[in-house]
Symmetry: D3
Subunit: 69 residues, 6 copies
């Protein structure tokens, strides 16, 4: 499957916090660089996202903001 | 300023494509790892986001999806 | 590739409006039911989304609202 | 009320999963085609979204992605 | 029509910047307080959003972030 | 820190509803005008968002819709 989403970042799941409806997932995409996402709990279970699993973080470009110091 | 957004990724602007209302910005956050975002053109200009400038990509965790192969 | 996004709707591209940075795509997912999306022009071109092409509309559940009359 | 959101899909609520802060709602918009959304629990209650209720799924076009196989 | 979106802010359109695919709209919701939104050009035209028109800005609560100084 | 997000609305926290993964925060940005947002519980705690605290609601312009009556 090829996606229009511009950002597909490969990594390993390093943390999983399940809630009632949503779960919070942390993916390490480079040494020391992590992406945190909140997805529905049903989805996290369907993809069997657990510690150490290889996965991709996918982010639509219209959802990225920028900042400067 | 401290933000609730969970993802703040430091990098350097490597590409800028201005449109009429929006501009597309590419930030290199690690060697070979880039984040692409689309922001309003007015914002890109206000922050003077140009090639080589240090900046942060900011992503709310509810906007991150995950995928597996 | 399996995605955490809950909504994957199969259909056929029925309209494509290219802009400078973004393109607007219409997908018919059932007779008379269409989904319109705006994606970056680069993505629409990379996936060769053109009239009549089979594709999927993907929507994260946190981006769906509901209304009643 | 008329909305700028491009996607207004009529259907019937077929499932409701309440959480602590959010609720997950499933709407059947055509035979066998469902849309899942996560909204705040307070909103789901205010609109009395329950099984069998007629409702609309509303999706902003900038939140729609596309994929091909 | 009643919406699940938590934020419905009444105001007057004070600025409209049309692009190719999208248009940028500014709404004054209180003296000196403005909300800027980018919607598809087709939607802005369908709702005849022009200077001085009364309108509502609608924002899903999952799209609101917070910051402190 | 300067952000590309177009909407930065100053206010006072008037309500906080903590969940398991997410928290719901209400900010009064003008007399009688409130913005409700849902952020991860970890973020709400990190910023110590509590009743009466001065904070900003930040909204990306692509997440704003408009409506007319």
């Amino acid at each position: 499957m090829k996606l229009t989403a511009r950002n597909t970042l490969k990594g390993k799941v390093t943390k999983l916090v399940p809630g009632t409806v949503n779960s919070e997932i942390t993916l390490e995409i480079a040494p020391g660089i992590e992406i945190v996402g909140i997805v529905s709990k049903a989805s996290a279970e369907r993809l069997e996202l657990t510690d150490g699993k290889e996965a991709y973080a996918i982010i639509k470009s219209s959802n990225v903001m920028f900042a400067i110091e």
